[in-house]
Symmetry: C2
Subunit: 144 residues, 2 copies
Amino acid sequence: MVEHLKQRFRERGYRLTRQREAIIEVLAGTGEHLTAEEVHQRVQSICPELNLATVYRNLNLLAEQKIIGKVDFGDGPARFEARSEHHHHLYCLRCGRVVDLLHCPVHLDEKISETYRFRVTGHQFEAYGYCMGCELLNGKVGKP
Amino acid sequence: MVEHLKQRFRERGYRLTRQREAIIEVLAGTGEHLTAEEVHQRVQSICPELNLATVYRNLNLLAEQKIIGKVDFGDGPARFEARSEHHHHLYCLRCGRVVDLLHCPVHLDEKISETYRFRVTGHQFEAYGYCMGCELLNGKVGKP
DNA sequence: ATCTTAGATGCAAATAACTTGCAACTGAAG
DNA sequence: CTTCAGTTGCAAGTTATTTGCATCTAAGAT
């Protein structure tokens, strides 16, 4: 997995630096959806002195190359994940947990192009609500 | 329309100030999806000296009260619109034009809650691509 | 193994888009 | 026309991210 990602990166003519390896390893080693800040923290152990600006530069580069995925839930910072194929998420409004959806629930019928005179090339969809743990807490502690 | 929005605002116990009237008038008077900055500019004519911070405060307040709508396409600033019911958009990647969708193309089946152990309370969906004008320009001028 | 250099990094400063603290102001209930 | 909680203007602060630039380094050429 890690080697595969590094490979795809090199194929595109980019240098495989210590910093880049570290970032790829951190992301590929978790199923979580991490912010740039979180990636920066976790990377410290294998590559201290890796600058936050470099983390941003590389996460964005990897996302542009579609080697990793990037999601933005509108509130806080953007999040990055190793999975790069088209997919969507459930986002817990209480704890921030992110769950990957297995199937895309969006069905744009083919008439949309003529109805709206618009060619759709992509879409984003994110659902929000409460994961079970938080659902139970709701109504018990604060935040109604 | 304008009066209706003002009414809904007053009903909730908020004061109807000159600034708020101006903001509501600008938004209700257009079908466009405006940024706070744009609202601020257009409001100058009917209410100069209206501060940008006040525009932000009121647009957010109106959106929280679901009197207006707020969309965020992830790139630039958030946009506000007079329509407040649940709906979605097509967003042109070239010119930034926003088209309202008449129907919601998302179908979350009822099993989702048990499948993912998650209670969905809402969702956002935005599709992007190119409006006809820009589609024709693509390939002729810059940006392939 | 060493040279070369375009590409990458670190650091500090800059930016974009808001948000907040606070003193002064003002709708609207009485 | 008084009262005062709700609003506003202004300046400063915050958050998330980007950029300029001098220095450094991966990796192909020698």
